[in-house]
Symmetry: D4
Subunit: 252 residues, 8 copies
Amino acid sequence: MNRNDLTSLLQAIHDGRTSIEEGIARLSQLPFEDVGVALIDHHRELRQGVPEIVLGERKSLEQLQTILKAMAAKGGNILVTRLSPENADQLCEDFPQADYDKDARTLTLIQQQIEENGKGTVLVVCAGTSDIPVAREAVITARMLGNRVVELVDVGVAGIHRLLAQGDKLRDAKVIIVVAGMEGALPSVIGGLVPVPVIAVPTSVGYGAAFGGIAALLGMLNSCASGVTVVNIDNGFGAAFAANRINQTGAS
Amino acid sequence: MNRNDLTSLLQAIHDGRTSIEEGIARLSQLPFEDVGVALIDHHRELRQGVPEIVLGERKSLEQLQTILKAMAAKGGNILVTRLSPENADQLCEDFPQADYDKDARTLTLIQQQIEENGKGTVLVVCAGTSDIPVAREAVITARMLGNRVVELVDVGVAGIHRLLAQGDKLRDAKVIIVVAGMEGALPSVIGGLVPVPVIAVPTSVGYGAAFGGIAALLGMLNSCASGVTVVNIDNGFGAAFAANRINQTGAS
Amino acid sequence: MNRNDLTSLLQAIHDGRTSIEEGIARLSQLPFEDVGVALIDHHRELRQGVPEIVLGERKSLEQLQTILKAMAAKGGNILVTRLSPENADQLCEDFPQADYDKDARTLTLIQQQIEENGKGTVLVVCAGTSDIPVAREAVITARMLGNRVVELVDVGVAGIHRLLAQGDKLRDAKVIIVVAGMEGALPSVIGGLVPVPVIAVPTSVGYGAAFGGIAALLGMLNSCASGVTVVNIDNGFGAAFAANRINQTGAS
Amino acid sequence: MNRNDLTSLLQAIHDGRTSIEEGIARLSQLPFEDVGVALIDHHRELRQGVPEIVLGERKSLEQLQTILKAMAAKGGNILVTRLSPENADQLCEDFPQADYDKDARTLTLIQQQIEENGKGTVLVVCAGTSDIPVAREAVITARMLGNRVVELVDVGVAGIHRLLAQGDKLRDAKVIIVVAGMEGALPSVIGGLVPVPVIAVPTSVGYGAAFGGIAALLGMLNSCASGVTVVNIDNGFGAAFAANRINQTGAS
Amino acid sequence: MNRNDLTSLLQAIHDGRTSIEEGIARLSQLPFEDVGVALIDHHRELRQGVPEIVLGERKSLEQLQTILKAMAAKGGNILVTRLSPENADQLCEDFPQADYDKDARTLTLIQQQIEENGKGTVLVVCAGTSDIPVAREAVITARMLGNRVVELVDVGVAGIHRLLAQGDKLRDAKVIIVVAGMEGALPSVIGGLVPVPVIAVPTSVGYGAAFGGIAALLGMLNSCASGVTVVNIDNGFGAAFAANRINQTGAS
Amino acid sequence: MNRNDLTSLLQAIHDGRTSIEEGIARLSQLPFEDVGVALIDHHRELRQGVPEIVLGERKSLEQLQTILKAMAAKGGNILVTRLSPENADQLCEDFPQADYDKDARTLTLIQQQIEENGKGTVLVVCAGTSDIPVAREAVITARMLGNRVVELVDVGVAGIHRLLAQGDKLRDAKVIIVVAGMEGALPSVIGGLVPVPVIAVPTSVGYGAAFGGIAALLGMLNSCASGVTVVNIDNGFGAAFAANRINQTGAS
Amino acid sequence: MNRNDLTSLLQAIHDGRTSIEEGIARLSQLPFEDVGVALIDHHRELRQGVPEIVLGERKSLEQLQTILKAMAAKGGNILVTRLSPENADQLCEDFPQADYDKDARTLTLIQQQIEENGKGTVLVVCAGTSDIPVAREAVITARMLGNRVVELVDVGVAGIHRLLAQGDKLRDAKVIIVVAGMEGALPSVIGGLVPVPVIAVPTSVGYGAAFGGIAALLGMLNSCASGVTVVNIDNGFGAAFAANRINQTGAS
Amino acid sequence: MNRNDLTSLLQAIHDGRTSIEEGIARLSQLPFEDVGVALIDHHRELRQGVPEIVLGERKSLEQLQTILKAMAAKGGNILVTRLSPENADQLCEDFPQADYDKDARTLTLIQQQIEENGKGTVLVVCAGTSDIPVAREAVITARMLGNRVVELVDVGVAGIHRLLAQGDKLRDAKVIIVVAGMEGALPSVIGGLVPVPVIAVPTSVGYGAAFGGIAALLGMLNSCASGVTVVNIDNGFGAAFAANRINQTGAS
């Protein structure tokens, strides 16, 4: 809308040819306001059952208490990620209905029933038992976001038959999150078995040349299975968020 | 072969309706065919319009000619990626209906109409003009896989208003592929604007501390927008393949 | 400006209490348009003497010819950076008044006298003769942007007396760009001698553990002289652009 | 001044043609004495209000007590950076008028009013709440050095509208320090919006492939906005010192 | 189940000697059991004296107690690697016959005599005294797997005569595991002296540019002695497991 | 000089048949000759059929011609690795019975029948067609060293059924060399399927975050299958040499 | 066994004074003893005043007590490096005449007067106060090895005049050890000022992109002053040992 | 010399108590003049037989011709390093008495007899034949600087007896330069055998995980032999320059 358009519009309002209501409607399309309202409302609005999400890391107990108190008062659901056990202990006292998962290091406070917002199942697969904490973060996040979630643990590539024996679960998933440390090979195998989206999560499990998850990360970025996508090391939360973006895609 | 099929087969052997030889023949197909049929048929079957895909890199002209000749004879569509201009010249002579894209370095041979297999639009966004080759590879791949594709170029974060002015395209996409080199910041901005899946493709565009795409790759893996997923550096093909996995998700 | 404000404004226009002109004025302050017009005009407007800048790298001769032709037609000045000698040869034929610097790999086309826009001198210091190409890119860019530039070459830290003998030039500069490869120590020494802004440019000069400029880059980022800032490896252009931002600061 | 000049000068002194005072004046211009006095006095002299700066890290409490006692006795202002809370507790007891900022980990002891030495405003922008400690170090340092400082927090690129809504602050700054972790994209966006100097500070905020700030550092070095300069990871102090160098530039 | 077995089964079904139900039962074991039985039985079966192996790292005391209790009940031998001293203390109380090696950080519980399963000697050589913990893990693992093991310590390359004086031990080994940190040169020297398999284990011993074992790892991967193979940093367990694979090779 | 030789020498001195001077002369050859004989004779002796090995890389044609001429004159077999096609062309003219493998870049000159020196089969498995050159180098080297070799190509983990269908070959091997680029996951899968030694060879196949084979190398070093050992990137020769060390182990 | 000894032995055999058996026995000691005596005696002999050196790191208190007790009994001098304060406390109780330097983390036990074994002075220069611990390790080691040592601290390149004011010390040194962290530029400046050997020691002082000393290490390896050599990060001991090798060079 | 001292001195000259000559003498000691004259004259003066050194890399033929012409006119000796064969061809035509070494890529022009300036022998040891070019650069440089040089080639650690057989040469050297690629282990072995200074030169020989010399560089920095110092990758020149610094040490 350039200056001429704007002049015409205001003239029409002035002349009464265009109603004020219609003027507002057209002006509300203006580039920026529009962006705020239309594109990014999913960030702000407080729809039923959609959680507020708080990164617990690098926040003091006092900060967390203040934030959670304010959020909880709104009556919505809350998910705190990467929360230390020490802070969790106190927060669980403050919010008795809150639930802390020691593996995932997440605190969930559910005040409203979670609406399932996707139409398919998110499968979270986990290569080894040491990868479980990251997988759990993904599971809990995906559920809080309204997804149906199935878990499958300890199906690493060194015992490939254990994975192959779970064909049903692989077949039934609409999105698969694959969590693996060390060489991070599992997403390649699964990506070759299924046609659905595969989100790979490298974990920092391993030692020496695992370099805190770099080996797994590189393995996943170089997957020989086409179309596997990757998130940051140990980022179960991000993988679940991505799975939710995908799962919602088919929902409408 | 499910339990019922197996019962019928054994019953027929028991009854003498099926010979032991034939029973062996059918059962010997079991172990991996079963895996093959159920889980990985999407890999093998030659559905109408689904292309055969060939990695052109590290293959000699002779190898490529042999492969394409055999594939073309089956009558399906073919996509060759990372093909050098020199090899492309000769192949385009051999297959006059083939089409080579100099930017994307892809050769496409379309012998059947491509069926749209997804129900939404794949938007391919590109930060700078130097990123276009990678974006083109994504566009061509996604189209060959049966997706409707829209392109949006030169909307880097240093001129953020150019991106924001394209709200419509962002809103209408079902999956967004974001291609960017240098600092790789564009997926973070877009991931914050839209709720749909965002697949980030780092490119090797840049010099010095760009380290051939590492800077962009790290930037994307650490995106502050939740749920952005990443593929390998310059991997437009992989991003399109992932977008196709997602787009198909909502198709059925 | 929320809905109520907007309604009031349009009502006032409708009622004739507010003129259309004033309505436009107020509406033009709306977040986005405003950004476009007010904040980023420095990007777009074609003030006298300010050059259009084109990155020559990764552009074909044809693309460059098209771009330069269009730009030249507007009558302004043009700076092409990272231009190959081959492309430069042809462009200099096309634009006889253009000038190509082989060291800097820049092409400049000056159609209007350059206005000096800063009020001080930009000093470009260069550790060794091998660093000259990057220093030249900085010098030419800074001049095209309207700065007075002084050069000082071959004053590396292994012969510290050569630098110290140039106290006058150091004292007279308002901004100093220091270009150095290998261990990249020169900015630390200069940063300790002068109170003005020092912009360090690591170069890819060196071999082995120089790692294409990483050694110099890290040296500069860890400078023991406080307040030295750094740009990308071999980024003489960026350093000059930063110097220009600074030099303009004191200009108004 | 060569041997002949020196001989002439001493002869003239000997003959009484040149006074001893004048001899001293001329000799004090000798190459490096001159450097010592003229160029680097800004390092040594104790101008009104300019703080002594102490790096608190790797110093024992005893060392710090000794240093601060000696400095405080001179009556000037003192800034201690990277000071542990434990050492700060004791130092605040020793120097009751000292002030410790827990976020910034700085101790300030103000014994003289700080003179504003720059003529513009330093804006310190911060991408996320986790980046606040580094931003605070920059804010406090810049103020101690005599700059007027404005802060702007939590305007990360994943919510770009929050930044764009702050056009006023961006427009009014003479120098902008941008503090960001994770992908470090904020300086690119701001560098594209404003014409003034932008100093980017990568932070170690993030995990996994953030690599303790490397991702942000690389992102900033490869900024697609021209003329953004960068300091070391978490180096809020250095950014403020650089901003002060710039801000002083226009002061005289 | 080979072709003969299958023929017999079908013949028995055909003849009515085996019921269809039983046939299904046996055939349903096929798909992966077949893989399982034929290829990977070495993983599962509980042969006399072959230990169960548990990775102690990242497991809680409770988890370890549960696992060991279940395993011990089967009567076989158990090896726990990378077990913290704290958890070891409690486990040694729970299982009084268990033995914890503080250097190797392994717990062994021997309930059956270990059968020697290889026909040669595994020699574990160790460059410096700081490498002993990794060497010990290799020694204990190799013994638990049924190998005869000889140790040779502190024969680093800086005192080459100490190694050369041990010609007998080198000559008598069938497989040699060489454990070394710092520059990791020992495997090259030994690989040049003997014709038998040499498995190199880099250790994280060293500081500074040892980079936690990377220097040693790279040294070993680039060994100028042909045919030296390498395992992960500090992976004494893996080296012993590889040595066992080799030693078993000649056993049958 | 063994014990018998030494006894003879001393007897001769004792008997006066050999002068003391001559005794000293012969004994002064002892120190390292002895080492040579006892420990490292496998390096020097020219047993029937064991090849001389020449690294073709970084040698000029003239150097290669001189070396091969001298070696060929001795009548043994010769293996030249990493030989450029240009040098190979000339050498094949000089030595008409020589054979150059374009994939493996090896030249072999067989003048004596190769004796099989191992008692088992070396299986060389290859993940993708691009990995074939490295696999071929391993195959040819292993054969030249006297091993029976079987090849298995294009069985990458993204199509796991193709590998599983080759159970026979895996079962029959005494040593397995697994060659893979990209994520390097194949050794983990194979290591989990078989009990025999597995030597992993990362290749430089891949692009972007494959980093010239680093991704595959790290994947293999972090294999979740116990006892997989690794050689340098693209080092098919070294893997075959290691396999030969192992295969010889069971030979005597 | 030198030539004379050998002549005597053979003469005795010749004369029948020594039996052939005994001759063989004595000669069989030759191979490595010889190496030991001739080449490496400097390692073993216990010359007056030359210290035994023990690496304190990664050794338990018990191990250290045992080692020191044994060594002390021989009456020589002892140097323990990288010793933790905790272990030092106990060892100083056990050996009351021992002296622990908290900065250098060295324990010295002097039981014999140290002989000066070099003919020149070792100068240890240190860039900043945080580098002092590493410098102290060098000073103490060099003194224990018998060198005259002079120290020069806090002469970093950001205040170059402080260094230049110490021309005397630089001129008088026969070997200079330069200890610096951060950008590690000091050795370049000093290497350009003096003709004597300069040994650079990078320290882990710094943060962020200092990467634990990598920045300083790379800076020193790429020094633009010719002939500067480098040791490992924080390796004050190694630098002193190297300086001693040099200083002894001129001693004889 | 502070102001008071200066005043006293000038007063004394004025009064005739101090002669002008003495005044000059004392003033010539002033801090930095002094540095220029006394400390760094070794850089500038043209003593008999000391070569001018030119880095041939990154210089055009024209630049080299100009430089050499000017230098040759002075009659001294000249050493050009890292000179391409193409430029060498022309320069050898221009300067017929010049000599180009193809391996070392050095051009030497000897117009005066080289004076031996050290009192000992520099031994240059080389691990493999591929390392010879770097070793040659060291040999030629050391000779041009006036040192007696002995070479020892192809004594890599995988054939340790070849090195040990050269005890004489090792024993006779006053300084040893050890050139090695791949794992870079040779300096550790030699450093353990001899008491004299050992300068290690990593080379870029190798492939894959050799990373262009990083593996060798790290190996050398982490040498388990105390007091080995290191120069940059492929820096034969620097090693020789360092050896010359050392060798001169004992000369006076």
